[in-house]
């Protein structure tokens, strides 16, 4: 993939120099922190006043937070798709982007866990989920898999870092002490012995296999939070794969966005090439096509039968009060990207960036379309309900806190990309034909 052979020194310096440069970094982090600051203030209001401070009601009790939660879990799934599914099939071109995918997985999975806490009126009772755990409850399964996925993602992020730590220790001598300490600690005494390589490779392989069922579980269980109830619009047997398919599309979109900006700001055009964009673009259109297939199933099966209740729900989506949002999401977030991405010209970095932003925004709003309209149709016959119980639109507190979550996840990706090389140096060097012995004897020129 990399046209000309690169020397180890060039690879190390290409990947470590951007870490040291702080051009624009401070402004970017300041911006993210400002967004998070607003969200933090909003959360302090919500903590003081309870969920009454939000636009949520006892009818529409799942709103923007839960929609965001699904979106975050969905986005986090890309780590598994790239580093495990593609990695285990022996695809070599994922080497430069696998770590980026893993960073997204770590950042978004962590904030997914936090968003659940934001949706609690009494977060001080969080421990009760465990103290009074019911193993029958999908919520308890969800807590379990989210935690497990976060742990596996972190380990799977750290494992391929271990051999890189030696390079960092040697090149980062001018960096602050705390950074050097982190590098030393995370190197776990790496010397590059055959035994160590064996352990690392075996562990990565083991976790790559393990993360596939766990990642499928995390999003299937998330879908079960909905599908295990008999509610109209959620009562669907394909919700698990439907969510997973959507998650891969959202994740591939997010990966393309992050790839674009990292490549640009870190000058990694030699490593993340148009070839990679083309490939991930193809992956995106594939996942979108699968997602389209599930969408057709999800809507045409109840839509053909039009059972009582389903008719109201589907009418609201297709032609009623949710129609504008629904069709925007379906057209701009799925159908149009599919049509465009079938052309090779559209799978170049800039068009892909624009399409990916549309896909990711569509993915976000799609979760909203799944969550809220169902709650707008109560299960039991109702009478004399205040009109505002039936209408929901998130207020500034919810938007601020959700923005804080998005900024927080992006901040984690930013910090990880600033602390560690965005690609595994040793694996890239390995692909360049550089021997393990040469890597062990690496000295800064």
């Amino acid at each position: 993939m990399l046209e000309t052979k690169k020397s180890l020194n060039k690879i190390v310096s290409d990947l470590t120099v951007p870490i040291k440069s702080h051009k624009g970094f401070i402004i970017w982090v300041a911006f993210l922190l400002a967004v998070m600051g607003l969200g933090f203030y909003a959360y302090s209001v919500q903590l003081r006043e309870g969920l009454g401070a939000t636009a949520l009601t006892d009818y529409i009790s799942w709103g923007l937070y839960i929609s965001s939660f699904i979106f975050f879990v969905a986005t986090a799934l890309i780590g598994m798709l790239v580093s495990a599914v593609l990695g285990l099939t022996g695809i070599k071109w994922i080497t430069p982007i696998a770590r980026i995918a893993e960073m997204i997985a770590v950042g978004f999975a962590m904030w997914a866990g936090l968003i659940i806490v934001f949706d609690m009126g009494r977060p001080d009772r969080l421990l009760n989920v465990f103290l009074y755990a019911r193993v029958q409850s999908p919520i308890f399964w969800d807590v379990t898999v989210v935690t497990t996925y976060i742990v596996i993602s972190i380990i799977l992020f750290l494992l391929p870092l271990i051999p890189d730590m030696v390079f960092l220790q040697k090149t980062m001598k001018d960096q602050p002490k705390w950074k050097q300490k982190i590098y030393k600690m995370l190197s776990f005494g790496w010397k590059g012995t055959p035994e160590q390589y064996k352990i690392i490779k075996r562990s990565i392989r083991l976790l790559s296999i393990l993360i596939i069922p766990v990642a499928l579980a995390i999003h299937t269980v998330t879908s079960w939070l909905f599908a295990m109830t008999p509610r109209i619009g959620w009562d669907s047997t394909i919700f698990g794969p439907y969510y997973v398919a959507g998650a891969f599309a959202a994740g591939a979109g997010a990966l393309l966005i992050v790839m674009f900006f990292i490549r640009k700001s870190y000058n990694l055009q030699d490593y993340i090439t148009d070839f990679h964009f083309d490939k991930i673009g193809k992956l995106l259109v594939l996942t979108l096509l699968v997602y389209l297939y599930f969408n057709i199933n999800e809507y045409i099966v109840p839509g053909y039968k039009m059972k009582r209740g389903d008719d109201h729900h589907l009418f609201a989506l297709f032609a009623g009060k949710n129609a504008i949002l629904f069709w925007s999401v379906q057209i701009f977030g799925m159908i149009l990207p599919i049509l465009l991405l079938l052309w090779g010209k559209m799978r170049k970095p800039v068009p892909l960036l624009i399409i990916s932003i549309a896909v990711v925004m569509g993915a976000f709003m799609k979760r909203y379309i799944i969550t809220v309209p169902t709650l707008e149709h109560p299960q039991l016959p109702t009478a004399n309900i205040p009109v505002d119980f039936m209408i929901y639109w998130p207020n500034w507190i919810e938007w601020s806190i959700t923005s804080m979550a998005i900024a927080g996840a992006v901040l984690i990706v930013t910090i990880l990309a600033k602390l560690f090389p965005v690609m595994p140096i040793w694996e890239i060097a390995h692909e360049e034909g550089i021997s393990e012995e040469e890597m062990n004897n690496f000295e800064v020129e």
Binding site: Y132, A133, R134, V135, Q136, W141, T144, T148, V151, I152, I155, L159, I162, F188, G189, W190, K191, T193, E195, Q196, I199, I200, R202, S203, L206, L207, L210, P213, V214
Partner: protein, 285 residues
């Protein structure tokens, strides 16, 4: 809206005033009519339940006020108690002035039951409105071998005290019987054999009278053990999806533990492998 209310009030006052001056014209045959059903305690109790929902709002508890006018009058006054069964039945059926006819709303049996209920005051008790409030006392005796409950009212003029027997249920009191005392102040009732209790047949009965104007209030609760035993199977006691955590179905419990344990075993194994890296370094050196 304001106008509607005013007009409504005016109409009601008009109807009421018509009633005061109106005379009940009751055909002679109707006066002679007698009840097709026997005046049993059950019939009177059924009548009381209907009276409480249909009549009480206007007529109050019979004997509570003793008011003859303005209409609607107290149905415990002497002039009313002197009426025949047939007369009262006719009045309930046909209505008059402000009182609507009930023949279309209530079945004939229901209407006779109301007559029976009102007659419980008529037949045995003459309401003496001159009696001032006397706080009577209530004692309850349980006669186990006969499954009977005996209420003893004492402490003054104990004639005509309406005593109610009830069974305690989850959401209130189930009436068994309402009986008026005679001059001895004693009433006895037999416990019905179709009342369910707990698995050993235990339940609680409540005996009370409540007439704040004449007799005061008293209530006694007693435990009895002759209710029909009911072996209630609590669906929460077996392992089920809807149970508490400790009552989870075994298949889901084992699946959860099995899967979680296996996954975490691999994770811990990998963590141990990472910690072994340092050892692997030393071996070479």
């Amino acid at each position: 809206m304001k106008h509607t209310k005013k007009i409504f009030t005016a109409v009601v006052i008009m109807l009421l005033s018509i009633n005061v001056f109106a005379q009940w014209k009751i055909p002679a045959e109707a006066k002679k009519q007698t009840a097709p059903t026997e005046n049993s305690v059950d019939a009177a109790l059924a009548g009381k339940l209907i009276y409480d929902t249909k009549c009480k709002a206007c007529h109050q508890i019979p004997g509570a006020t003793g008011m003859k006018a303005p209409a609607p009058p107290d149905l415990g006054i002497e002039s009313f108690l002197n009426k025949t069964d047939g007369e009262i039945f006719y009045q309930i059926s046909e209505g008059m002035g402000g009182m609507p006819p009930f023949k279309s709303q209530l079945s004939e049996e229901d209407r006779w039951n109301i007559v029976h209920y009102l007659a419980t005051g008529r037949a045995s008790c003459t309401v003496d409105m001159s009696t001032a409030l006397q706080n009577l006392e209530l004692k309850v005796e349980i006669i186990d071998d006969k499954k009977q409950i005996k209420a003893i009212v004492s402490g003054g003029n104990v004639d005509c005290v309406k005593v109610g027997f009830f069974v305690k249920r989850y959401f209130g009191l189930l009436p068994i019987k309402v009986v008026e005392t005679d001059s001895s102040g004693m009433v006895t009732t037999t416990f019905p054999n179709d009342i369910s209790g707990d698995k050993d047949g235990n339940t609680e009965i409540v005996v009370k009278f409540d007439n704040p104007d004449r007799h005061g209030k008293a209530e006694v609760t007693k435990k009895i053990k002759w209710a029909t035993p009911v072996h209630y199977i609590n669906p929460l006691e077996k392992r089920a999806m809807w149970g508490v955590g400790a009552k989870a179905p075994l298949w889901i419990l084992f699946s959860y533990i099995g899967i979680t344990f296996s996954v975490w075993a691999v994770i811990i194994f990998v963590i141990l492998q990472i910690l072994k890296l340092k050892k692997a370094k030393n071996e070479v050196e």
